[in-house]
Symmetry: C2
Subunit: 125 residues, 2 copies
DNA sequence: CGTACTGATCAAGTTTCATTGATAGATGAC
DNA sequence: GTCATCTATCAATGAAACTTGATCAGTACG
């Protein structure tokens, strides 16, 4: 199966060159961060936290759902670096992690513009 | 459970006001798009397509995996609007869908800056 | 025609994730 | 101290997603 790009004629070599260990981590980072945002409940939590810091009791009230369920989703978001928590007495407050979102924006941008912005048309014999 | 934000004192009303039907769709749209990017193989596919249009045979070769597996992941990406395909004889070429990525960037941006950029500190009695 | 090839689709098996209810840990009130 | 409250964690169940191999649909070629 000898299929090559018109311009480079060596797409496979190019690909291997980009497969550095950091690139591998990059793939996993994008996937794990996006996984955190792949659930509608978690997206709703993010948008809610965009209004400002919220305590879990507030969220449980307005989301009208089990507390353990929200706790689970908040943990997923926290592990992804998208939110941070702060304990104050019995209550725990969650808010957005600005740094995590900037990183996310960078990741998304990097997806679109990887190496060559020129549109290379493939050709198989 | 009477927990209110310091500034508004009515966080729940604010939340309900934002729950329009378009917002609901918005949540689902972010979740579904991010789900497409929540798999490492699919992220690798995206980055590979960032180099230019690729035929499936090329991808199957360099990813060293089953053809049906790649076809499955390409379909997920296509359904999410992130890639487009083009048939040319026996071969099918995939490439990035610029419009889909712009929409994705908008979605991510909208997550960070929803309503108030002011940091509201919650307070529970 | 028939054959060879590319890629999509299907079905079965496996894994991973989300939900639920119960429990445990931590804090504050008494 | 005991009790109540808030939140995290655990175990079990159900659902969704991923993988694999086989088959099917479409195309090219002799």
């Amino acid at each position: 199966m000898i299929c090559r790009g018109v311009l480079t004629n060596q797409p496979f070599l190019i690909y291997k060159a980009r497969m550095t260990s950091t690139s591998v981590k990059h793939f996993a980072k994008v996937a794990s961060t996006c996984h955190a945002l792949s659930d509608e409940t978690r997206v709703r939590l993010i948008e809610r936290l965009g209004e400002g810091e919220q305590c879990v009791c507030d969220l449980t009230d307005s989301f009208k759902t089990g507390q353990s369920r929200l706790s689970f989703h908040l943990k997923v978001l926290k592990d992804a670096g998208l939110v941070i928590d702060r304990r104050e007495g019995r209550w725990v407050y969650y808010s957005l992690n600005g740094a995590g979102f900037e990183e996310l924006e960078d990741l998304v941008r990097s997806l679109k513009s990887t190496t060559s912005s020129t549109f290379r048309r493939g050709s198989c014999p």
